[in-house]
């Protein structure tokens, strides 16, 4: 298998034998370098899927393999970002970005000696997302959009093979959101990292992803996989083209059906 993420027939139930069955018969594959988006009705198990991939939850049935290894404990090769930026308010933005390095085994012992290199790397990332010079500021001195940018830097600092984004732009206004779409698009192009993006926003999914997975209502499983046909690099104006709107319309219909089925 060359799949970076390989999920096969997974069942995951919360809270004991008679708890909520969150996903059931979930099967999904993501290849290295892919940009995958997961869309689906609310509460269908999208966040659960993320936690299965990162090893924060272990399924009751089925197989989760990430980077060729059975997932039985948290895998440290992923970077994560949530809707809520979860920056630590007592650290400067730069220190927040360096946090994963203090934790991941591979880096924590090297950090003290090579601090300068790491800081340089963090500053590169900050520049990439358009936050040059904001490293010394505290998170609460940044706007929501800026925090979310920093959050992306944090997710990327330890050079993860896989970036997991759980509705990272949900709380932002439309314009900031579009700016960050471009940031992510460029990051994906520049760093060749594999990305799985969970979102409610079908236009976001269509604009960014190569593959869109549509999930059913809870218990979630993948009901449809779309290849997104638009050539890269993509421009924001793409969203006003007919094919784009048709794809969004189609996705919309599928999810509406999935919701009805629930």
């Amino acid at each position: 298998m060359t799949h970076l993420v390989f999920i096969d027939d997974v069942d995951m139930r919360y809270g004991g034998a008679d708890g909520t069955l969150a996903v059931s018969g979930l099967t999904m594959r993501v290849e290295k370098g892919d940009f995958a988006a997961v869309v689906g009705p609310s509460g269908c198990g999208k966040s659960t899927l993320m936690k299965l991939v990162t090893g924060l939850h272990i399924p009751q049935a089925g197989t989760v393999i990430v980077a060729g290894q059975h997932v039985t404990k948290p895998v440290s090769i992923v970077g994560m970002a949530f809707q809520n930026p979860t920056m630590l308010p007592w650290r400067t933005t730069l220190e927040n970005i360096l946090l994963p390095l203090e934790i991941v085994e591979k880096h924590r012992h090297r950090l003290r000696a090579h601090r300068k290199d790491y800081v340089a790397q963090a500053e590169n990332l900050l520049e990439l997302v358009g936050l040059k010079g904001f490293g010394a500021k505290y998170p609460w001195q940044l706007s929501g959009g800026m925090q979310q940018r920093a959050n992306l830097c944090r997710a990327l600092i330890h050079q993860p093979d896989l970036l997991m984004l759980d509705e990272p732009f949900g709380a932002l206004d439309a314009f900031t959101r579009e700016e960050l779409w471009c940031v992510i698009r460029d990051l994906h192009a520049a760093q060749g990292v594999t990305i799985i993006l969970v979102t409610h926003d079908l236009r976001e999914a269509s604009f960014l992803a190569d593959k869109i997975f549509v999930m059913s209502a809870r218990p979630g499983r993948i009901v449809r996989e779309h290849r997104v046909p638009f050539a890269r690099p993509r421009d924001l104006d793409l969203m006003y083209e007919k094919e784009f709107n048709d794809l969004v319309h189609q996705l919309h219909g599928e999810i509406a059906t999935a919701r009805m089925a629930a």
Binding site: K51, T54, G55, L56, K73, P74, V75, S76, V78, M80, F82, N84, T86, L88, P89, W90, R91, L99, P100, E102, I103, V104, E105, Y138, P139, W140, Q141, H158
Partner: protein, 272 residues
């Protein structure tokens, strides 16, 4: 700290604003003066003998008259209080983190601490005296015993309110329990910790004075109990006044430290 602001009806640029702010500034002084005035008038009106409730004027007179012993004893009390409070800070932080560490430890120790807290510390002082003699040590320990509880509870609460998402981010990176504790738990509980210091310091005063009353050669507690047994009631009240002043001063200091140390908590959304 109030539900009503001056927004309605008044233009936002309002002259009286500066005036109003200074009212808030002046309020503590005005209220204090008001309290003393009412007290004075009440004493005069009811013809209270000074051995029961001396008038403020009589108390200030006592402060002037006995300034030297009041000053020395205040310093002594301040010293024992600060020492006991310091111990409570260290111990309370440690125990709070320890308790916040595990649900079982928390469940086990919490009722014991409540029970201990319901015991008047006066009952504990004689036992301390038997172990340590009278003087500074039992006073320090009493101050410690009485003031560490709120610190423990607050630190444990701080640990309990960590956002699960922050934890998830770290756990996904392979963080161990101790990592999460050090990187997130400890800093996260700091605002709660500093917030508890204000309460703890006033309690520490109560503790050290209590112990000095029963077992000490010096300190405000000793001075007051000796004055009490002499029926020098104005001096007792002078001592109480000094205590109140020291208490307010230390409270203000702690509030200042809190603001300094945990500015981020007040400016970020994390504050409650």
């Amino acid at each position: 700290m109030t539900i009503v602001t001056e927004r309605p009806g008044t233009p936002a640029v309002s002259k009286p604003r500066a005036l109003r702010i200074s009212w808030v500034r002046a309020a503590p002084w005005l209220y204090t003066i008001g309290l003393f005035l009412i007290w004075e008038l009440l004493v005069i009106a009811l013809q209270m003998p000074q051995t029961i409730l001396p008038a403020p004027s009589r108390i200030f007179q006592a402060i002037v008259q006995y300034w030297s012993p009041i000053w020395k004893n205040s310093l002594q009390t301040l010293f024992t209080t600060t020492l006991g409070f310091g111990l409570a800070v260290v111990g309370g932080l440690a125990i709070g983190l320890f308790i916040g560490w595990s649900k079982t430890i928390y469940a086990g120790l919490y009722p014991l601490m409540i029970g201990f807290n319901a015991i008047p510390k006066v009952a504990v002082v004689p036992i301390l005296v038997i172990w340590f003699g009278i003087g500074t040590i039992p006073a320090v320990i009493t101050a410690f015993l009485i003031s560490f509880f709120p610190i423990v509870v607050n630190v444990a609460t701080g640990l309990a309110t960590i956002e699960p998402e922050t934890e998830d981010v770290l756990r996904a990176l392979g963080a161990r329990k101790i990592d999460i504790m050090l990187k997130v738990g400890v800093p996260r509980s700091m605002p709660y910790f500093f917030g508890s210091l204000k309460i703890a310091i006033t309690l520490a005063f109560v503790g050290s004075v209590l112990s000095e009353t029963v077992a000490a050669n010096y300190g405000l507690g000793n001075m007051m109990s000796s004055a009490q047994s002499q029926f020098n009631v104005p001096l007792v009240f002078a001592g109480l006044l000094m205590l109140a002043v020291e208490g307010i001063a230390m409270y203000a200091l702690m509030a200042w430290i809190e603001r300094r140390m945990t500015g981020w908590a007040h400016r970020s959304t994390m504050a409650h």
